[in-house]
Amino acid sequence: MRKITFCEALNEALVEEMERDPSVFIYGIGVPDHKKIFGSTNHLLEKFGPDRCLDTPISEDAMTGVGLGAAINGLRPIHVHIRVDFLLLAMNQLANMASSCRYGFGGRRGAPLVIRAIVGRGWGQGFQHSKSMHAVMAHIPGLKVVLPTTPRDAKGLLIAAIRDDDPVLFFEHRWLYWQEAEVPEGSFVEPLGKGRILRKGSDLTIVATSWMNVEAVHAASILERRGVSIEIVDPRCLVPLDQAIIVESVKKTGRCLVADNDWVYCGFSAEVAALVSDACFGMLKGPVKRIGFAQTPCPTVRHLENAFYPNAETIVRTIERMLDLPEMDLSGERFFSHENRFKGPF
């Protein structure tokens, strides 16, 4: 099968869905400009015109309400935010309005709204351009929450989100945009609410979100060399959550590490740890562990930023402690770094 990038996969999903369904339109700050949201909105303006691919004022709150109203009236809006942090301006429309829209109509009408938001990282994005916020959204009943990791899932899940009849928050980590992998041509759907086993293993389960899956795969290959077999579960959707795939994996391995691309405290990693500790009670060989961002605002300078984010090394070290293994020598290991491809500005 041909390989394309995560970004190209997103773009294919958008092009194909907008071709298929004239009620789909896309909008947001900078969506049609020449930068095309890092390329993910390529061709849309040219193919579908300015009525279906539109720029907006810097009015996230109102523009979210506009999407909600358009969705109530039968359109399928896709609202794009170049940083997740800007969603905080729209929290009222998301948590007080969109989330309860269907419930408030007695179930008879809903809002098929997709909100794409990019998780920023690197080159000193700092504390206002690097948030994740998927746990906050998942906490609010009535919002679906999707975090694709692979290019295939980027396409299949975005198509599913667009066709879904309820509000879907779709979080895209900026660094995933360059990931390349096989993606089917043409239309296909990855159903919302199904997790994916990214790697099979028997000694320990890593439940990872978004970019942390890339780090987890790397960590697993390092650990494999010393005979530790890691299973990686990518839940892909936080709402609805595929609890079974997580629980079954941990029942098999007896150990679980949650690696979330977010703060740990009151986050999704807590939910998974609580769920697993309950559902696998008596079957665990050790406590569920969690890793995520340092519980601080995100600093800009690189060495602090590196300390803020967990990576494959953090995962390896945590698992060594979980398995009571001595620390292996990682000095020869090349960990992921965008040092040479991802420079200023963004």
């Binding site: 109102a62 309400g65 506009v66 109530i72 009236n73 408030g104 009408r109």
Partner: protein, 320 residues
């Protein structure tokens, strides 16, 4: 012409009788929902809705009894929901603050000040996208213009020249707070007039006058292809929320009330119809019919079942 004016009167009566029924029965504690009463403002939603086509759409606030009844005429659905019964399509989940009836173009109400304005803008965006000719009217209080999202929405509506009428129901109060404690400007209408839209103002309590002004505004929206803003003043008869008066609370006087009561929307319209030669018996008949409709609606609501407990979990997502 006169038939239209009579139907407007009928709506006013329906609304007033409905709220009188709420005042009468609320003390029984069966309507367990916070009531933000419309009394005093009836001419505005009745007038505007009379200028709208039935396929046009509206949204409102938590203070929405008059708007709901003006747009839907569905007094049974109204009381079914206030009583929280399974006979309401909203199944009791919404109560007084979140009434809606999309099949009548009543697209919902929000209890977060100003928050329906952008949603209505989105409804209008979709109507234009679908070229279905529908117009949207969104109703909000004078407090809503203090919310930034009002200005964001107005800017977008004017930028995209959307078919929307913004109706400011101005009672000069946000709960108990007067405009001088809230507004850093002199005229809201003048501020709005700085945008690419048309603005209109009235303090008439005659629903026919409001309707005629709304018609002009709507005409401009359709021809001029730009949004309209209509500011209507009125006096809130009762406390902010609840069924009582609160003239003793100190933030306003009963005199103001008396002045406005002298041109009460229901009484005024009745007087004018009589002056125009409509026989009083015709009006009495209407009053009797609407009173009876309200009585039966209350009765039906009280007699209706509650939905199953399992309904709690229904309707969060489609197909679930």
């Amino acid at each position: 012409m006169i038939d239209e004016a009579i139907d407007i009167y009928r709506k006013l009566v329906l609304i007033r009788r409905s709220e009188e029924a709420i005042r009468r029965w609320y003390g029984q504690d069966e309507m367990k929902t916070p009531m933000h009463m419309s009394m005093g403002e009836e001419a505005i939603p009745v007038g505007v809705c009379a200028a709208l086509a039935s396929t046009d759409q509206v949204m409102g606030t938590y203070r929405t009894h008059a708007l709901y009844l003006a747009k839907t005429d569905d007094v049974d659905g109204f009381f079914a929901e206030l009583y929280g019964r399974a006979s309401s399509p909203l199944r009791g989940k919404c109560g007084s603050m979140h009434l809606s009836a999309p099949e009548h173009g009543m697209m919902g109400c929000s209890a977060i000040v100003a928050s329906a304005v952008p949603v209505s803008t989105g409804l209008a965006f979709a109507n234009r996208y679908q070229a279905n000719g529908k117009l949207v009217a969104v109703f909000f209080g004078d407090g809503a213009v203090e919310g930034g999202v009002f200005w964001e929405s107005l800017n977008f509506a004017c930028l995209r020249q959307l078919p929307i009428l913004l109706v400011c129901e101005d009672n000069g109060l946000a709960v108990h707070t007067l405009p001088e404690t809230r507004h850093g400007y002199d005229s809201i209408t003048q501020l709005v007039a700085g945008y690419r839209c048309d603005t209109w103002e009235t303090d008439s309590t005659d629903a026919v006058v409001v309707r005629d002004l709304a018609r002009r505004a709507i005409g401009r929206i359709r021809e001029g292809k730009r949004p309209g803003f209509l500011r209507c003043r009125y006096y809130r008869y009762l406390e902010h929320v609840g069924i009582n008066t609160d003239f003793d609370a100190g933030y306003r006087t009963e005199e103001g009330y008396r002045e406005w009561l002298a041109r009460d929307p229901v009484d005024l319209r009745r007087r004018l119809l009589l002056e125009q030669g409509v026989p009083e018996e015709r009006l009495c008949r209407i009053e009797a019919v609407e009173t009876e409709r309200v009585r039966q609606a209350v009765e039906k609501a009280k007699a209706a079942e509650f939905c199953n407990q399992s309904a709690l979990y229904e309707g969060v997502f489609a197909g679930a």
